[in-house]
Amino acid sequence: MKSSISSVRRPRRQGLVWFVPLAIALALVPLFFNNYYAQQATFVCMYAALALSWNVIGGFTGYPSFSTAAFVGLGAYAGAILQNAGMPMMLAWVAATAVTALFAAVLGYAILRMKGHYFAIGSIAIVESMRLLASSWSSLTGGGEGLNLPIFPGGPDHAGRVFFYAMFVVMIVAAMMSLWLDRSRLGFGLRCVQQNEDAADMVGVNVNASKIAAFVLSALFCGTTGAISASWVSYISPPDAFSILMTLKVPVMALLGGAGTVLGPVLGALVFVLVEQTLMSRFLDYSQAMLGVIIVFLIFFLPGGLLGAGLFERLSGRLARLRRASA
């Protein structure tokens, strides 16, 4: 069985047309708006980076991975432990990224032989196992009591900006990776794997190596993101670092934007964060249910996401027809 998501014609070149203005708009947020907006923008960047990362394995490669939170949590713990051991913050972020990548390579070697449902379940089990490991390895992780990090000095506005731009850079790098991947040999090979793994093997794609590479790429920025957000929150604990909810939410964002499209996940993350934020403040008791309704709606009425399945085509087709009719 094959889990294929993307459609035949992906409007990939359209991506940059809206991504660049969006990125510029985001980058300006902390300069012109207060810290609340900066914080929202930070979350947008964070989830965009995560959804872009997920898209490498889930969209390009067609492997329904739910390991995002495992990588985010690992990055958070690696970053926190290194920072507490005296490593400078930024260096700790880079080191956490490396640790996460290494872990993903080993993990990928082990679990990428599974397919479809088995892979999905296996990847969720990884998150839960990591949480339990972090909880029981008290000497290293502080166990259930969690780990404290030093609060970033310089006041809230300064800190808000530093963490925003850190996340922003991660998002931009992740987006550049996606753009590169889409045009690269590896990316082409991954699309072959996504379409038909056996046939990919036959045409000379080193399927295993490609899948592991995709898994590592999908983990890399999750690790960075985790480390940055650990420094940002300045406290981490097992259930929140390895959050099942997050591991399920990130693919939903990518689906919302259009899985397999190059930059769709950014749009998905943006819309998701804004919707969630709005629901949270408008529907005190029912915010979660509202989000559920939106997810169900998405599955039925927007199966290819905002950018996939030709929503743009459908819209522009309709526009063209209207124009022709009026002409």
Partner: protein
């Protein structure tokens, strides 16, 4: 260029999230609450207590700020027991909803997260339900907690219980791997050893444990004289039921914070009898106070009348936290955050909940916390002497 639209829409949407114009003569208090998710139950209790206080304050015209009565508005948002979101909401409340003060969510872990945000912005944060010192030893200047340190509880208990039931030598400890329950387990181990007890079983169980049969059976084989288990209500209700079912027993059975919660006693019925615990507050300790309630009895009656349930320490401490804040604002005569913070630091009052005086780390000064036991379905305070209503009875 048509495609610039999504970007513009996005920015517009961000802007649309802001709240409408805010009135100046209102004091805004932000309350991130866990109304769904794992801590939903505890979040609700905080919400109830806040509402009692709020109703009374506003009925009296508001808080007296240098002679001017200012109404109070509570801004409550559900953070769904999600740490990241708690942080997000705290920040939102400060920057967007322009709250003057914050209350912390339930539990030490989530309090820590919100405390980080409050500290950055210099917003006084009233933590009603965080008792682990690891929250307060971070050097935060704006964090004030109404619960007293945990440390004293286990110390008093170890000494008192081993005297009350002669022959108490062996203690078995099972703790939940979580901020507060774990620290209570760790501290009890230290206190028990200091009191000359032998710790025959000492394990933690992870968040997400469904069943305790194995741990209890193992514990039973060590034949302890004292069984001590920490966790949240759901863990402890199950553990207690399984103890009875598996005939795991000891002369002393202590659960933290099980019997401090009414739902623990309701859910267990007769099985709750004999279980001892400690609490930060008990309604039988009646304080006359110069606050919106006036006395413990009034608070209890108000609570029972409104919610048809007995208040526990969560509710009392939550209401007390707001009282402390109110008194500090009145004392400072301003809503200026830094000045209110200083007023809080030097505050010394008696509330319906008991005396409040924050120590250097922001925690309510240690005092003799009530040690309680469920006897015939009722919570009976055993300690300290002023509220003592009974003595420790061995579990049958």
């Amino acid at each position: 260029m048509r495609l610039l639209k999504p970007a513009l829409i996005a920015v517009a949407a961000l802007a649309a999230l802001s709240r409408p114009a805010l009135a100046d003569d209102v004091i805004r208090i932000g309350a991130p609450l866990a109304l769904t998710g794992g801590l939903a139950d505890e979040g609700k209790k905080q919400q109830m207590a806040y509402s009692l206080w709020l109703k009374r304050v506003n009925a009296a015209g508001g808080i007296d700020v240098a002679g001017k009565k200012m109404k109070v508005e509570m801004i409550e948002i559900d953070y769904q027991t999600d740490e990241k979101r708690a942080q997000q909401i705290a920040e939102r409340m400060i920057t967007q909803d322009k709250v003057d003060f914050l209350t912390a969510p339930f539990g030490s872990g989530h309090t820590k997260v919100v405390a980080g945000v409050a500290e950055r912005y210099g917003v006084p944060l009233m933590a009603a339900v965080a008792s682990s010192e690891s929250v307060f030893n971070q050097g935060y200047k704006f964090l004030f907690g109404t619960l007293a340190p945990n440390g004293g509880i286990t110390e008093n208990m170890a000494i008192m219980f081993s005297k009350a039931i002669p022959g108490t030598k062996k203690i078995a400890i099972l703790g939940r791997e979580d901020v507060f329950p774990k620290s209570m387990a760790v501290e009890m181990k230290a206190s028990a050893e200091r009191a000359g007890l032998q710790v025959v079983y000492n394990e933690t169980y992870p968040v997400g444990t469904l069943d305790h049969a194995t741990a209890l059976s193992k514990m039973k084989s060590t034949q302890p004289d004292w069984i001590y288990i920490t966790g949240y209500s759901q863990d402890l209700i199950l553990a207690r039921k399984q103890m009875v079912d598996l005939k795991v027993t000891a002369p002393i059975v202590t659960m933290l914070t099980g019997p401090s919660y009414q739902e623990y006693i309701n859910a267990l019925g007769p099985m709750a009898n004999g279980v001892s615990s400690a609490s930060w507050w008990h309604q039988s300790a009646n304080f006359k106070s110069n606050d919106v309630f006036g006395s413990t009895d009034v608070f209890v009656k108000d609570f029972v009348g409104t919610f048809k349930a007995d208040p526990d320490y969560v509710g009392a401490s939550s209401a007390a936290a707001l009282i402390a804040l109110q008194k500090a604002i009145e004392k400072a005569g301003t809503t200026d955050k830094a000045k209110v913070r200083d007023a809080l630091a030097s505050l010394e009052i008696v509330t319906f909940y008991g005396p409040i005086k924050f120590g250097a780390n922001g925690m309510n000064q240690g005092r003799d916390l009530p040690i309680i036991q469920v006897q015939n379905g009722k919570v009976v305070p055993l300690y300290p002497d002023p509220i003592k209503q009974g003595t420790l009875q061995a579990v049958r």
